[in-house]
């Protein structure tokens, strides 16, 4: 492992993040506040407790996951697409490093940003509702794994994209619906039987369910299934990236 190279990529990527810190920080806080106002105060008052959990508290894990997943994908995809777009990728590809080091650098940075935003949202939500996290270690574990796996997914997206449109279209058309329909704002058990089954094909369901379990000891699917799902998903993304570098697809003609 070439740690200096990883560090160089990581630091360089994080500098970009800190350069736009205000923007990175303010936008998730504002959108979270809006969700709380709309779903919590305005609508939430009319919704009964879900599975015995106050509705505002119920949506906190979902909201964190929603932001973390979208931020991880967009950060990671932009992080690798931008150098590709402006041509600076040549330097990374000519450096004495292997695919794993490139990925750890870029994905590590993107995941760190997403984690930071996730924690900011968690802190923000404490202003709106009292939360007790029953399994804090599992919660952090899930959060970190989600940041990593979705950053890996974003990395793949960034390598694949040939223009900015594609870069934005995939999160918009695929990731946002998966996340919204993955039980961010509701429990899967609230759905009709048919849609419950359909939902089980949505990988995001497992992540949100597991994450919510860490908070409230309540989940749609078993925590073991959730853990397996996220490990499987992470492994799959790493495998795809390995193939990308092995074949040089979209990177090395």
């Amino acid at each position: 492992m070439n740690f200096r190279s990883i560090q160089a990529i990581y630091v360089f990527e994080m500098t970009r993040f800190f350069r736009t810190l205000l923007q990175s920080f303010v936008s998730p806080v504002i959108s979270t506040c809006l969700y709380f106002v709309v779903f919590g105060a305005a609508i939430g008052g009319r919704i009964d407790a879900v599975e015995g959990i106050n509705y505002i508290a119920f949506i906190v894990p979902g909201l964190i996951m929603l932001s973390v997943m979208t931020q991880a994908v967009s950060n990671a995809s932009f992080g690798i697409y931008f150098p590709k777009f402006i041509g600076t990728i040549y330097e990374v590809l000519s450096a004495p490093i292997n695919f794993l080091e490139i990925v750890v650098g870029y994905v590590g940075a993107a995941a760190s940003k997403a984690l930071f935003i996730g924690l900011v949202i968690l802190a923000t939500s404490l202003f709106f509702v009292d939360i007790e996290i029953i399994h804090p270690i599992i919660m952090i574990l899930f959060l970190v794994f989600t940041c990593i796996s979705f950053s890996l997914l974003g990395f793949i997206l960034g390598v694949w994209a040939n223009n900015f449109e594609q870069l934005q279209l995939v999160p918009l058309l695929i990731i946002t619906p998966l996340v919204f329909l993955g039980g961010s704002f509701y429990s899967i058990s609230m759905l009709p039987k048919f849609w419950q089954v359909v939902s089980l094909f949505n990988p995001v369901v497992y992540l949100i369910s597991g994450f919510r379990w860490a908070f409230y000891d309540h989940s749609d699917v078993s925590i073991i299934t959730s853990l397996l799902a996220i490990i499987l998903f992470t492994g799959f993304c790493i495998f795809v990236i390995f193939i990308i570098f092995k074949t040089g697809w979209r990177l090395r003609p």
């Binding site: 070439n2 200096r4 190279s5 560090q7 160089a8 990529i9 630091v11 360089f12 500098t15 970009r16 350069r19 931008f82 150098p83 402006i86 041509g87 600076t88 040549y90 330097e91 990374v92 590809l93 000519s94 450096a95 004495p96 490093i97 292997n98 040089g248 090395r252 003609p253």
Partner: protein
């Protein structure tokens, strides 16, 4: 001297069937400066990209400093610095940060002392805290060179370093190249400015349609292929070359004031003494004599 870079049977066919390199072999010694000439699309950049790991060769073997670029890519690549043709830089980044990044990326320990030397050498030191986007085109190119030198490479590739660069910067670059040469850095540059190859290269290679069609010492090349021209200016113009001088194959200038004689300095066709004797016998008054040598450009054009 050992070969710093060795390329054997290198071919590159792109997936669309285009053949960019066709069985290219060449070796460059340590501290040598090789200029690769050739028209646009000849394969110069592909050759460089293959060595640097940006393009996967279809066939052939490349070693840098004795390390295979495939099986031993870490050691091979850490010896190589690349200055790309296009200006590719992160616009919002500071000069010093992007240079530090390059050094770290190639696995070198931080060394701001060394980076200062590089930046000063390239007259960038007072711009170290400027953002890239605030720099002029010439300075951006210098930043690219600084990035390539940041990890102390032993082989430096300059892909068209003079494209869009003013005369002053070009001279500075040539000076830098000769300084690097004195540190025994091997330099391979591509250019289509023949004067550049003539000014700094030890050897010249010509690539055309993916083939290395010529590889020779610059001086030998000029000597071998170059002809010299003797221009004899006359005091008073003449209408035609006098009959007794016809056998010399002379060319009269349009205004009749000078006679041109093409010769080869070492060839048997060299008859300068005889020519001058016969000119004075023919009662022609000489006002001036001038000789000139064919440039690489003329040789180059004759090859393609």
């Amino acid at each position: 001297m050992t070969d710093m870079l060795s390329i054997t049977g290198l071919s590159k066919r792109y997936s669309d069937g285009q053949v960019a390199l066709d069985n290219v072999s060449l070796a460059v010694k340590e501290g040598e400066i090789l200029a690769l000439l050739g028209p646009n699309g000849a394969g110069k950049t592909t050759l460089i990209s293959a060595v640097c790991g940006l393009v996967v060769p279809t066939e052939g073997q490349i070693t840098v400093g004795g390390f295979d670029t495939k099986s031993n890519y870490r050691l091979a690549r850490s010896l190589v610095g690349l200055v790309p043709q296009e200006i590719s830089l992160e616009p919002f980044e500071k000069v010093i940060n992007t240079v530090r990044f390059s050094r770290g990326l190639f696995g070198k320990d931080p060394n701001d002392k060394y980076l200062e030397i590089v930046l000063r050498q390239l007259s960038l030191w007072d711009k170290k805290d400027s953002k890239i986007m605030q720099l002029s085109g010439g300075m951006k190119r210098r930043v690219l060179i600084a990035k390539a030198l940041a990890h102390e490479p032993r082989v430096l590739f300059l892909d068209e370093p003079s494209a869009g660069v003013d005369v002053e910067l070009r001279r500075e670059m040539w000076k830098l190249v000769s300084e690097l040469k004195s540190q025994r850095v091997t330099i391979i540059l591509t250019t289509h400015y023949i004067e550049e190859a003539e000014a700094i290269a030890d050897r010249v290679g010509v690539i055309s349609k993916g083939k290395l069609i010529l590889l020779e010492e610059k001086k030998a090349l000029i000597k071998r292929m170059g002809q010299k021209k003797l221009e004899i200016s006359l005091k008073s113009p003449i209408a035609a070359i006098p009959a007794q001088l016809q056998h010399f194959q002379l060319f009269l200038s349009d205004d009749g004031t000078s006679i041109n004689y093409l010769y080869d300095t070492k060839g048997s066709t060299n008859q300068i003494t005889k020519l001058l004797n016969e000119i004075s016998n023919a009662d022609l008054q000489i006002s001036d004599l001038q000789t000139s040598q064919s440039s690489l450009e003329e040789i180059f054009v004759s090859l393609i």
